[in-house]
């Protein structure tokens, strides 16, 4: 089941719809998410950062399980967190703070594993690379940075190197509004959007700017066509622009270079975009509180979901396993179980990790190796035994054994003979002695 989740900066909860049937699912309550602050953690649960007031000195991160509308876990990080991201298996959550720091939590234990200074100003958006080994972050200071997480965790190398980051792209002059990364491992492209009305395409392998696209208006969100033929850019003027990547780009038209076209049905700014994999659906959220589902091919609206009065600012598409947690009224027990499955809250501070104390990692061991799968053995055993019997008659080992026994036998026969001989000799000797003795005595007696 592919579901669309939408949240807003005004409390309308998190709306959830089945993308294919259009049926509304549970509405998860009390969520005031900033942009890029809604994430599905490995499809296991929903997490969202919260920012009640923009000037607040503290924020929170909330977790919802799929089956319950209420917030189940609340965490209070040390400073307000805006963007959230999670790696694909859902084992880590990263949060970008207003100060420009990035927080790195382990989901299972809630431990704050790392915190590092990433940008000079607030982090606005973050995304994990396809293989989860790189993190790309955009900031209000206009930089986009690529981090190797391995480097982040290698204190030794980190101290040696000048910069923790792999690349720092500073092409944007204003706040970066969105960053996405495409397919292709280390050959992927990164597309970033900024308030300076440009989108820039970067090469991950070369670390260079590949393309700069100037839009008529500020782009707030980007969605990549999965084939990376084009990307869609949701703009503040209410249009969704189509910009060329692999597609043949166009020299001139109404909009500018590389912009192939646009379509629109939004009266107000497009704030967020997402792409539904299974049917080529483009999903857009708008400031008017509507979520529109477009057929990417015909550019017709397929569905519309009314989310809230306020602007929608996050949309994610999540593929959920058609699991046991069907939304029905009588699954109280199972939902309680679900709740128990949620991880503990994220920690506020990193525990000073003593070198000696062992940090253990919570792991679920599933899909064990095949080595332990027991097998039927009786028939195997029969053939083994028969083989053994077969070998008994003719095996070299038994021949050797016989030879050895024969040899032993000979040895002991010799030994016996020797003993026998010795005994006989002794006997003879004794008898002779005795005879001699008696002869002597008789002689003596005779003499006497």
């Amino acid at each position: 089941m592919e579901v669309v989740l939408a949240s807003s900066s005004v409390d309308g909860g998190i709306g959830c719809w089945d993308l294919h049937t259009g049926a509304e699912q549970l509405r998860y309550k009390s969520c005031l998410s900033p942009s890029h602050g809604l994430v599905s953690v490995g499809s296991r649960f929903i997490a969202s950062s919260q920012l009640r007031e923009t000037s607040a000195t503290s924020g929170s991160v909330l977790f919802w399980s799929w089956s319950k509308p209420q917030v189940e876990v609340k965490s209070f990080p040390a400073e307000p967190i805006k963007p959230l991201a999670s790696n694909h298996p859902g084992t880590f959550i990263v949060g970008g703070a207003l100060s420009g720091d990035i927080y790195f939590w382990e989901v299972e234990t809630g431990r704050l594993l790392k915190k590092w200074r990433a940008h000079f100003r607030a982090v606005t958006c973050m995304v994990f690379s396809e293989d989860d080994s790189l993190l790309i972050s955009g900031s209000e200071d206009g930089t986009v940075r690529v981090w190797s997480l391995f480097m982040i965790f290698d204190d030794f190398r980190g101290q040696q190197a000048n910069n923790l980051y792999e690349y720092s792209f500073s092409g944007h002059t204003l706040r970066v509004t969105d960053v996405v990364i495409g397919n292709g491992g280390c050959n992927a492209i990164i597309v970033s959007a900024s308030e300076d009305r440009t989108c820039k395409v970067w090469s991950l392998s070369r670390g260079t700017l590949l393309r700069n696209i100037v839009f008529p208006s500020v782009i707030d969100s980007i969605a990549l066509d999965p084939a990376e033929h084009v990307f869609y850019a949701g703009s503040r003027d209410g249009k969704i622009y189509i910009a060329a990547l692999n597609a043949v780009s166009v020299a001139t038209n109404n909009y500018g270079m590389h912009i192939i076209g646009s379509f629109s049905n939004h009266s107000k700014a497009v704030t967020c975009l997402a792409y539904g994999m299974s049917e080529n659906l483009l999903i857009s959220g708008s400031e008017d509180g509507m979520v529109r589902v477009w057929n990417a091919r015909t550019r017709n609206i397929v569905r519309m979901f009314k989310h809230a009065k306020g602007p929608v600012n996050n949309i994610i598409v999540v593929r959920r396993e058609n699991s046991s947690n069907h939304i029905s009224s009588n699954v109280q027990t199972s939902s309680r179980k679900q709740g128990a499955n949620l991880p503990p809250p994220l920690e506020k501070y990193a525990n000073s990790i003593d070198e000696d104390s062992d940090m253990s990692t919570m792991v679920s061991l599933v899909g064990g190796s095949s080595s332990v799968v027991p097998q039927y053995i009786s028939s195997q055993q029969i053939s083994n035994y028969i083989k053994e019997l077969q070998h008994q008659g003719l095996s070299a080992a038994s021949e050797m054994e016989t030879e050895k026994l024969k040899h032993d036998y000979q040895m002991s026969m010799q030994m016996t003979n020797q003993w026998k001989k010795m005994y006989e000799n002794l006997n003879k000797f004794c008898v002779q002695e005795l005879l001699d003795g008696s002869q002597a005595t008789t002689l003596d007696e005779n003499q006497n």
């Binding site: 084992t91 084939a227 780009s249 001139t252 080595s371 028939s379």
Partner: protein, 876 residues
């Protein structure tokens, strides 16, 4: 049974009961008749299995009841015979009966099994409990019992009953394990315990401690074979499943680790520094916590400790490696609850072991004899090997969560890989590196790449026979390091420019093997190649400049060599093929991971793959080469196909648009300048389209000329509006025209320009004069520049697309004005050719631009909104 009661064929159901009866009659002994031959029994088993004689499976509808009856009775007589065998006093007949009962458990139908398993269970249990029987019988009873439980595990509905059966078995099995003294019996008993622990884990819960101590006793008291101790530790590793909670897993893990640590303390005494030992011990038992009870209980521990002091280093170390296998199994077996894996502790342990290489620290020299050192060194490779396996298990089990520890794993690998010299261990190092690449991705590969490449160079270089002689002198580090021996550099050049012939010429020297350098075993070379393949796959293009070119030249040399090595090598053919496969795989990965430039040895590589494909005698190789040619074809004919099925979209959704446009069209002009071809190339088939275009080139342009000549300006004026952009841009930029079409104004403009162009092209000289007049609207200049720019871009990227149509469509929607897509396309393909002819010469190119400058002048009246959006577009 009637003599002529024939049946259909070998699949006929009627055949099965017959065969079963004959088997019972002829091949199975009974109380009176002895075995005619032992081999008959295996014949029976194979017949029963092949024809599934005990399955009683038939189609209920189509099978006559007579046959069903017959099969049923045959089965009953089979069982009766087994039972009668069980009740004899001859051990070999009882053995046969028990074993056949086990086979029956495996083979019979579900109904039959559920109906009678309890009877069978009781019979088997009796044999397990009677100590009087011969070992053979009891071993068979264990095996059959294990089969029974395995089958029982498949019926969760009767879990309660079957668990209670399982509970009854545990005690007698333990008794066998402790009382008997034959390894065959231990083996069978342990297997039975493992089956129960996997299928009915909770039935052992009450006997947890006794099982643990019984098995641990066998393991630690020594004297059992390596194979046996592996089975024993496997059984221990399964034990926590009987409780199934996080705690008991951790406790067992800690118990094992404590034991390993103790034994290592004894074995490594005097060989290591105290600090290493202390750090592991500190991690092992956290301050303020009690250590867990020792494995197998206190009494056993006492015994073991007493014994251990007298044990030789060999047996100590073989115990340790068995225990480490236990850790690996615990990490990789599935477990119902989440577990806490003490990764840091495990890594510390691994490092402690890898650190010991048998050299004696200065201070302990007086306390150790050379004999002791010899003993320990003889066993160290086993220990190192199991510690590397432990790393592999850690990587497997933690997956992405290894991240916080990844740095220490990499540090361990880089530190000890270099110094390791035994091929077996190096293979393990390679496999760990490979796992790391795949699990941790590009971010990790950035840091481990150089190390792996260095090591792979040392291992693979020795196969470079041609400069082997020179390589001898330089030690392995030098050849792997940044500075390559000059010979290598030379080779790189020669192989870069040259080629297969060169290698073929050198074929004679292929036999030469460096003299004072041991030949790297093929398995090690395969491991090195596979690791390189993983590296190239994950991060072949990411900051790979320092090692990439060296690596590529090495790979092509190895791959080329591999094609002739088969004839001279004395290694078994299979491994040679494996090496060849590994080399070609790596070569393929290296080709595919190029992005900056054409792979330098691409043509040689293709040639190799082609040769490999012809070697049909080695199916694996031919298969892979065929696959490689398929994947590499994309490099030759690059394409970026859009995800959306654009052709489909056109046919479907813009149908009306098409129609209406036709109308509009004919409204504007009644005549189309040239006949529209009715079947434009399929827009989805991009490659095909391109080929068709170039093929058409001549006649189309000629046709066009002809048309133009006939009705020079008027015809052109009414030409399809969208042709021009295609003229100006390359054939790959069809999309352009579509977006041009987005605004009606642009359409008109284009139309006119098109006219001019056509004219111009027909009579170049004139047009230059005509259109070089200034006063052109400046807004159009950017257009030209942009064209130019994109043209270059696109050509260099070699990106093609069939995306024309959807963009069209987009523009239709935007402008609410339909357009005839098919027609567009036809024009595109025709006019493209025009452009192509012109683009050959610079003059013509200039021309086109000039035309663009000129065109607004020429047709000022036709189009109000030329300026639209253009200034923006040239700002980049």
């Amino acid at each position: 049974m009637a003599a002529f009661d024939h049946f259909g064929n070998m699949y006929d159901v009627a055949f099965k009961p017959r065969l079963l009866l004959s088997i019972i009659r002829d091949h199975i002994p009974d109380e009176k008749r002895a075995f005619s031959s032992n081999f008959q029994l295996s014949k029976v088993v194979s017949l029963v299995k092949t024809h599934s004689l005990l399955s009683e499976s038939f189609l209920v509808d189509s099978t006559p009841p007579k046959i069903i009856e017959a099969w049923k009775s045959a089965f009953s007589s089979w069982l009766n015979r087994i039972f009668s065998l069980l009740s004899t006093s001859m051990p070999d007949k009882r053995w046969a009966g028990i074993s056949l009962l086990g086979v029956t458990c495996e083979e019979c139908s579900s109904e039959r099994f559920l109906e009678s398993y309890s009877v069978w269970f009781n019979k088997l249990l009796a044999f397990l409990q009677s100590p009087a029987d011969s070992n053979l019988v009891r071993v068979a009873a264990c095996a059959s019992m294990s089969d029974l439980f395995l089958r029982l595990g498949r019926y969760p509905k009767i879990k309660k009953e079957s668990s209670s059966c399982a509970v009854k078995v545990v005690q007698p099995t333990l008794k066998m394990l402790t009382d008997e003294n034959s390894e065959a019996i231990w083996d069978a008993a342990v297997h039975l315990l493992c089956t129960i622990a996997t299928s009915f884990p909770f039935s052992i819960r009450n006997h947890y401690d006794s099982v643990e101590s019984a098995v641990a006793l066998k393991l630690l008291s020594g004297g059992c074979s390596l194979d046996m101790s592996k089975k024993l530790i496997r059984c221990i590793a399964l034990l926590p499943k009987s409780k199934g909670d996080t705690e008991s897993w951790s406790v067992l893990m800690q118990k094992i680790l404590v034991l390993i640590n103790d034994q290592l303390n004894l074995a490594f005494h005097g060989l290591e520094e105290e600090t290493m030992r202390d750090s592991v011990t500190r991690l092992l038992v956290l301050p303020g916590k009690h250590p867990p009870p020792p494995l197998g209980g206190y009494i056993l521990a006492e015994e073991v400790r007493n014994k251990a002091s007298q044990m030789t280093e060999q047996s100590l170390i073989s115990n340790v490696s068995a225990l480490m296998l236990g850790c690996c199994l615990m990490l990789t077996n599935s477990y119902p609850a989440k577990v806490n894996v003490p990764v840091r502790l495990l890594l510390a342990l691994v490092e402690r072991i890898l650190k010991v290489n048998g050299s004696l620290p200065q201070m302990s020299l007086p306390f150790m004899t050379a004999k002791q050192q010899e003993n320990i060194c003889s066993e160290l490779p086993v220990l190192h090997s199991s510690s590397l396996e432990l790393i592999t298990a850690i990587i497997k089990c933690t997956g992405s969560q290894l991240l916080p520890y990844a740095a220490s794993v990499v540090r361990i690998i880089t530190k000890y890989f270099k110094t390791c010299e035994l091929p077996e261990l190096r293979i393990k190092f390679y496999s760990v590196a490979r796992d790391l690449f795949i699990t941790m991705g590009a971010g990790m590969a950035l840091y481990l790449a150089q190390e792996v490449v260095n090591n792979a160079f040392t291992d693979l270089n020795s196969t470079e026979h041609m400069d082997g002689g020179i390589l001898n002198g330089s030690n392995s580090n030098a050849s792997a390091g940044a500075q390559q021996p000059p010979s290598h550099r030379k080779r790189k050049h020669s192989s870069a420019t040259g080629s297969l012939q060169e290698h073929d010429e050198g074929g004679g020297s292929g036999v030469e093997v460096p003299k004072n350098r041991p030949l790297t075993p093929i398995s090690l070379r395969i491991a090195a190649l596979e690791t390189l393949e993983a590296l190239l796959t994950v991060a072949g293009a990411l900051k790979s400049a320092p090692w990439r070119s060296k690596l590529d030249s090495l790979l092509i040399v190895i791959a080329t060599d591999s094609f002739k090595e088969g004839t001279v090598s004395e290694e078994p053919a299979a491994t040679v093929t494996d090496l060849q496969l590994a080399a070609l795989r790596t070569l393929q990965a290296s080709f595919l991971s190029f992005i900056r430039e054409r792979p330098p040895y691409f043509s040689q590589g293709l040639e190799l793959f082609r040769r490999g494909k012809q070697q049909t005698a080695v199916p694996k190789l031919a298969e892979f080469c065929a696959h490689a040619l398929l994947t590499l074809e994309v490099l030759i004919h690059p394409r970026a196909l859009p995800l959306v099925d654009y052709a489909y979209a056109v046919n479907n959704s813009s149908g009306e648009a098409h129609g209406s446009l036709q109308h509009e069209y004919s409204g504007r002009s009644n005549s189309t300048p040239f006949g529209l071809p009715q079947d434009p190339p399929d827009s989805d088939d991009d490659l095909c389209a391109r080929w068709l275009e170039t093929g058409k080139e001549d006649d189309v342009s000629m046709g066009k000329d002809a048309e133009n000549n006939q009705k020079p300006s008027e015809a052109c004026r009414d030409n399809d509006p969208i042709v021009l952009p295609v003229h100006v841009s390359s054939d790959k930029e069809r999309t352009q025209m579509d977006s041009e079409a987005a605004t009606p104004a642009a359409d008109v403009e284009m139309k006119t320009v098109e006219d001019e162009t056509n004219l111009k092209l027909d009579q170049p000289g004139e047009s230059v004069v005509q259109f070089q007049e200034p006063g052109s609207c400046t807004t159009n200049i950017p257009l030209v520049e942009a064209h130019n720019g994109t043209f270059d871009d696109v050509v260099s990227e070699k990106i093609l697309s069939g995306s024309t149509v959807p963009h069209n469509e987009a523009s239709h929607m935007e402008s609410d004005q339909g357009n005839s897509v098919n027609e567009d396309f036809a024009f595109a393909s025709q006019s493209n050719s025009l452009w192509q002819t012109t683009s050959d010469s610079n003059i013509f190119q200039d021309f086109a631009f000039k035309l663009d400058h000129g065109n607004p002048l020429a047709d000022e009246d036709g189009f109000p909104d030329i300026v639209d959006g253009d200034p923006d577009s040239d700002s980049e």
